[in-house]
Amino acid sequence: MATGIKDKVAIIGMGCTKFGERWDVGAEELMVEAFQEAIQDAGIDKNEIQAAWLGTCFDEVNVGKSALPASMTLRLPNISVTRVENFCASGTEAFRGAVYAVASGAYDIAMAIGVEKLKDIGYGGLPEFSSAMGTLNGLWFPNVTAPGCFAMLASGYAAKYGIDMQELKKAMAHVSAKSHANGVLNPKAHLRKAVTEEKILNAPMIAYPLGLFDCCGVSDGSACAIVTTPEIAKSLGKKDFVTVKALQLSLSNGTEMAYEWDGAHFITAAKASTEAYKEAGIKNPREELSLMEVHDCFSITELVTMEDLHISERGKAPKDIMDGFYDLDGKLPCQVDGGLKCFGHPIGASGLRMLYEIYLQLHGRADKRQLKDPKLGLTHNLGGFPMMNVCSVAIIGKYDV
């Protein structure tokens, strides 16, 4: 009988670069920046790391294939390094690899690093996708982009709940305004400017009904985590350390795209979060979670996700959002660090960047954004498209919680 991951693995060091249009550096320099912070935070020697996982997505316009870029750039001691890619869950997948490696007892100390250099393509938005979808899909998939696919979700949500699109757009605008306000407080965020809801609502259209400020930024960045067992953490003198409470992944099986779906929620996120709460022993996430870092690639994604994570009731996310429930001073702050909205989305790094914020909060190191006595935090990634996606949910918390 599986017992889950709860409290089997401790995070003893984390690092995260400044995210942004890092014209000055490439993926290699970004990895060094994140890694150095993590290794110093952990207070161990590099040679103590026994296995590593690298998360990147668009390798062809970034680091290239294989895990060699991480091994060679960081001069890792000829250990096993594995590159993982699972769309926007790539960073969390790297973390999962390291955590499971330690939990299995195969290694004492493992590392996860995620990196993405997106700003070497010469145009806005994510890299064009048509050569990356396989020989068959390329011949029939519509001419989609990420904003377009997630924009469709807004049309589905508005239709299902009979909401006027302008009303829905107001809630979406609040989602973005809240994250921008949080981003102002974070020196590592890419976008650090408060934006009014009025400005958000009047922005140029990217993919109907998503305007410019409904979309997250595109940026470069890297984040890193070093994990070990609670016993080793203790032996290293770590106090009040953070452990992994749950780590879940759920993937579409084609149902949404080809069989049955309301077009107003994520089947995978609802499943992954249910399993994660079970694994972490959380009965009432709305009450028990202290903060969340979710995959706000687009404002509508975050809105719908509040329901899929079983925090807001179905159809009620707009109300909770407008009530300020997810604001920094709300009951359950979401995107405390500014989210993808302000950090942008260097894909392989994002999942680890979210964990970094929760890690800082749990250690009381979040400076101006610091919440009062947080105990449990949730991260969520949603890769792909609403109609076919990869969803990861991680929950981390203080060891004694």
């Binding site: 145009y123 020989t135 068959l136 390329g138 011949l139 001419n143 990217i206 993919a207 109907y208 109609m387």
Partner: protein
């Protein structure tokens, strides 16, 4: 009895008022004003002769048995492939049989449509074939500010020839062939090269058509006014009427050349005009059809009682009624690739087409053929080996299931300004098929503001991409929101 079993037509939805061309280009060539009556049909940016041919063919075969086709003949001077049988692409789009079937392209002259019709009739007469589908289509790019730009429109027509349930019996035909070069398109050239209009009118259309018809009359001993309608193309309005005068034909029996409603559709045009005549014909009517291009084919049909039983297709009348004005000359020029607008770096992506994949999945990609679970009846697109119904999950229990003629509803959609598109925003969405199954498709022939969740859609075979580096054209199906219904 050998003749026509059914007909289908396709005139693309967009129409360009010729005065819009005049307003934009008369400064350059004032004489275009002389022929600026009415409007010309304009294929959408994602259409070509082959996709329009598929639309006409489906219209013709609606209610018919596509599995009974012995051959598909495709006639066009604007074939997307110089070597890859275009007729077989069309036949695959129809999910027509492959075994024992003998498809063919007819090209090289704008009379190729009637030549294909005669070939079909002869094949049936010979006893080697029972059902032959003839499709003619043209989308001719023209240079800006030319008389051709004014005269030509886009369109397609289809006729199913067979031996039973004949709505119009073929009672004779005659051909004249000669190397009269009113226009030509040299190998690898983008545009037609035309000779002096006066000569084309007087020595070409004005002589070759009446002489061929006269020769046919002489051969059969018939009189021109024995016919209820005489149908022949000629985009010069005056010459078109002059041919009737020369033949001694009652002007009321001349089929209109359709200049004002769509323009000359090239290879398709004799059949487009003929179908327009059939749509008005009564049992017993005698129709004489002639074409033009390096000679002239003449065909004589007599309409039968069965025409009353034919389930009316959209035809030419229906597709002419389905019209939207294209008010921008620049958009027309962009759609025809006459002007350069930047697609951006995102638009440069150009993955190669895996011909191996295309071969394996030809029914899916060209025919929109999915699968249906024999255990639980769930339809699937794309076709699947494992049933998606969680209560079933049967493996390898699938049968072929055609989606091409299904209707559906919009579940969700967007208009995407980020996607590289010739006609932004790129509109696409998820649709559910009536009868089960759903998928995500590009939308076409619509405006974003007209669409809503729940709106009905029909499906249309369209050009999906053009790989200019390798000269390949890829096709797939798109959804057309039924904004006019």
């Amino acid at each position: 009895m050998i003749g026509i079993k059914s007909y289908g037509g396709y005139i693309p939805r967009y129409r360009l008022n010729r005065m819009v061309i005049v307003q934009n280009m008369a400064w350059y060539l004032p004489v275009i004003m002389a022929v600026a009556q009415g409007e010309k049909s304009v294929a959408n940016w994602d259409e070509d002769s082959l996709s329009m041919g598929v639309a006409a063919a489906y219209d013709c075969m609606s209610g018919g048995d596509r599995k009974a086709l012995d051959a598909v003949y495709f006639a066009s001077t604007t074939l997307p492939f110089a070597d890859r049988q275009n007729a077989s692409v069309l036949a695959t789009a129809l999910n027509a049989p492959e075994e024992g079937v003998d498809n063919a392209d007819f090209t090289g002259s704008i009379k190729a449509g009637t030549t294909a019709a005669i070939a079909a009739i002869e094949a049936i007469e010979s006893g080697s074939k029972d059902n032959v589908l003839v499709v003619a289509s043209d989308l001719r790019r023209t240079k800006m500010a030319t008389m051709y730009e004014m005269f030509l429109g886009d369109g397609a027509a289809a006729l199913l020839f067979g031996k039973d349930d004949i709505i119009a019996e073929c009672k004779g035909y005659y051909s004249h062939s000669c190397d009269f070069v009113d226009h030509y398109k040299g190998y690898g050239k983008e545009f037609d090269y035309t000779w002096e209009e006066r000569w084309v009118r007087d020595e070409g259309y004005g002589k070759i058509i009446p002489e061929a018809i006269s020769a046919f009359l002489g051969k059969t001993g018939m009189q021109i006014n024995d016919f209820d309608k005489v149908i022949y193309p000629c985009y010069f309005k005056g010459t078109h009427a002059g041919i009737a005068r020369k033949l001694g034909l009652d002007p009321s029996k001349v089929q209109d050349n359709m200049h004002e409603v769509c323009g000359d559709t090239g290879t398709a045009h004799p059949l487009v005009m003929f179908i327009a005549a059939l749509e008005e014909a009564k049992p017993g009517d005698k129709l004489l059809l002639a074409s033009f291009g390096q000679g002239c084919d003449v065909l004589y049909f007599e309409v039968t009682d069965k025409i009353k039983d034919l389930k009316a297709p959209q035809g030419i009348k229906g597709s002419l009624a389905r019209r939207v004005e294209l008010d921008s000359y620049q958009k027309f020029c962009k759609w025809r690739d006459l002007i350069v607008a930047d697609l951006g770096i995102r638009g440069e992506a150009n993955p190669n087409t895996a011909l191996t994949t295309l071969w394996r999945k030809r029914k899916m990609l060209l025919g929109l053929v999915g699968s249906r679970c024999k255990k639980c009846g769930t339809p699937h697109f794309p076709p699947s080996q494992v049933c998606i119904n969680p209560d079933c999950g049967a493996v390898e229990e699938m049968e072929e299931y055609e989606f091409s003629e299904k209707t559906g509803k919009i579940l969700m959609y967007t208009g995407d300004m980020l996607a590289a598109s010739v006609d932004p925003p790129a509109i696409y969405g998820m649709i559910s098929f009536d009868g089960g199954g759903r998928t995500m498709l590009d939308f076409t022939d619509c405006k974003l503001e007209q669409i809503k969740v729940g709106m009905g859609v029909r499906l249309s075979f369209r050009r999906k991409y053009r790989d200019d580096m390798r000269g390949f054209t890829g096709y797939f199906w798109k959804a057309i929101p039924q904004v006019e219904e």
